[in-house]
Symmetry: C2
Subunit: 182 residues, 2 copies
């Protein structure tokens, strides 16, 4: 998966770059490791944000944190930092992970959305998939334009659907990758 | 649901009181509102932690935050603070919510665990249920002893199961309360 910090929307609907959040990295990496996600890309073109993300990862993967909490190391070592979605795709190809189908996620219904059950069936073929999650107010339009699929929003039982990106990632991993009872 | 900060285990397996975390309250309240959970109890006997939780809630429910982000208000107004699990049960009775079946959650398999599908069927009868989630290293033994049910751990596809309490709450709401496609 890729956690996109740019291009995303700000609260006014303008294209922006969001700040990297420590807890996004921890929560999403832990959920990713639990559900067998191969890599968590943190996408930001901002140098200071890349440095921040690297510092967090280094602390837990090779620094003091790795001895204090080895389980956290197993999670955070899934994280890779890239400038852009193109950078992610290039990195995946370089590592022999092939060219993935990209799946954009959204909290609002869109015309060409597909359901999680259908996506799970497609993913079961074993082809590489890259799930794109947006920080701030969600992915910018250009990401939807270029995505192979757009996943329908997570619906609870009310009209309210303001999940954190951490909650959304966790629920999507469970829906798409979990071995559910049913 | 109740987010238990005491009695929980610390990293050495001793009974402890965990600190209230701002993002736990936000993430869990947002997920709770999305899935129609009636209330999120924050359980801590520590006065300074209760004050901290109250300050967070006040900021978003009646303070500046409520104008900045009304959606956040809708979520955080679900939160109620109590000293103990007994306090939660008393408060529910006082509000006419009845006496709930309590469901303890855990990351480790235990002998009398039940699956989420079976629990979902039981909950469908409409009787009140109270889901108990532990912070820190999980709920203390006395909570399991007194719980009506113990929910099987969330399993991903690996042996790794170190989800944050925020992720675990989100996934459980989706499994137990969501209107899934399948």
């Amino acid at each position: 998966m890729a956690l996109i910090h740019h291009p995303v929307l700000n609260r006014n609907g303008e294209i922006a770059a969001a700040a990297v959040t420590n807890l996004d990295l921890h929560d999403i990496a832990r959920a990713a490791r639990t559900y067998g996600v191969r890599a968590v890309y943190v996408v930001t073109p901002l140098e200071d944000q890349k440095v921040l993300a690297e510092r967090i990862i280094d602390h837990w993967v090779s620094g003091i944190g790795s001895e204090y909490n080895p389980k956290r190391k197993e999670a955070l070592e899934l994280i890779r930092i890239q400038d852009s979605l193109d950078g992610v795709l290039t990195d995946m190809a370089r590592r022999g992970a092939g060219t993935p189908r990209t799946v954009a996620t959204t909290a609002r219904s869109r015309s060409r959305g597909i359901g999680d059950k259908m996506l799970k069936e497609k993913m079961a073929t074993g082809a590489p998939y890259l799930l794109l999650l947006g920080t701030a107010w969600g992915l910018a339009e250009e990401i939807f334009d270029s995505a192979d699929f757009i996943l329908d929003p997570i619906k609870g039982i009310s009209e309210y659907n303001h999940l954190s990106v951490r909650s959304a990632a966790s629920i999507l991993f469970d829906r798409l990758l979990g071995n559910r009872e049913d």
